[in-house]
């Protein structure tokens, strides 16, 4: 069934809750679209807080562990040792930063 026919059956809101349609772009349009996406992502990344970054790392590690333990066979692509150390290291750095800020403030 074509997209136009579906628009007669469902509202745009109902369609957005039911589909992501394939959209084709020319090579030139795709290149321009990718560039704009990269720029928009860069702006989001610049504003990302340490907490957001750490949450992303912890979620990634948690999901990897969930998938690893659910799987029938071990997956050698996952290296928890390194991920764990990097995540804990970030957590300690953020914690240390908070501690430094706390002790610098005068307390009466």
């Amino acid at each position: 069934m074509s997209y136009k026919k579906l628009l007669q059956e469902l509202s745009p809101q109902e369609l957005a809750e039911s589909f992501v349609f394939p959209v084709k772009l020319s090579a030139k349009q795709q290149k321009a679209a990718d560039l704009l996406l990269t720029e928009a992502r860069q702006k989001v990344r610049e504003k990302m807080t340490d907490t957001e970054k750490l949450t992303g790392r912890l979620m990634g590690l948690k999901f990897r562990m969930e998938d690893y333990f659910r799987a029938d066979k071990p997956n050698s692509e996952y290296s928890f040792g390194l991920n764990y150390i990097q995540t804990i290291s970030s957590l300690l750095n953020i914690g240390l930063g908070l501690f430094k800020r706390t002790v610098k403030e005068p307390c009466y």
Binding site: L10, P12, E17, A40, G60, F63
Partner: protein, 145 residues
């Protein structure tokens, strides 16, 4: 609330994937994308399908195609939140691969753009919409608690 399960599509699943219920030729999509299905836990009936394309150099996964089964669309639908769960699963898959740098994107039809933004909190990235950082984390927490 019904418990759902999302897993990779298997060759045997194509027997139940008809164009009448799932609208597209999903076998074709298998060539260029990873395919996933949403079912109720312990049941085989597919309620939604997702085609994901990986862009590893960009730390990004693109939702190329998504479809909720015909009887779960519009006013007479049996279950709600199928598309949201599949989008959240895409976000989870990206997070597993790229941690805090993860991003998902989709290229919307013009008429649907505002609805993806209001319903799923997606952000403008030129013609494409995307999730990254706090919003990516939020959609995972909302639909895959």
């Amino acid at each position: 609330m019904a418990k759902a399960s999302i897993s990779p599509l298997e060759d045997t699943d194509f027997k139940q994937i008809t164009k009448k219920r799932y609208f597209f030729d999903w076998k074709k999509e298998k060539v260029a994308a990873e395919l996933f299905k949403l079912t109720l836990q312990g049941e085989s009936e597919i309620l939604g399908l997702l085609a994901l394309t990986d862009f590893p150099g960009e730390f990004r996964m693109q939702i190329h195609l998504l479809c909720v089964s015909r009887d779960n669309q519009g006013k007479g639908k049996k279950y709600d939140g199928i598309a949201g769960s599949l989008i959240a699963f895409a976000a989870r898959t990206a997070t597993v691969k790229d941690f805090d740098q993860a991003c998902i994107s989709l290229l919307p039809k013009t008429e649907l753009r505002a609805h993806y933004k209001s319903k799923y909190g997606m952000m403008d990235g030129g013609p494409q919409l995307f999730h990254e950082g706090a919003r990516l984390q939020a959609i995972i927490k909302k639909y895959l608690p």
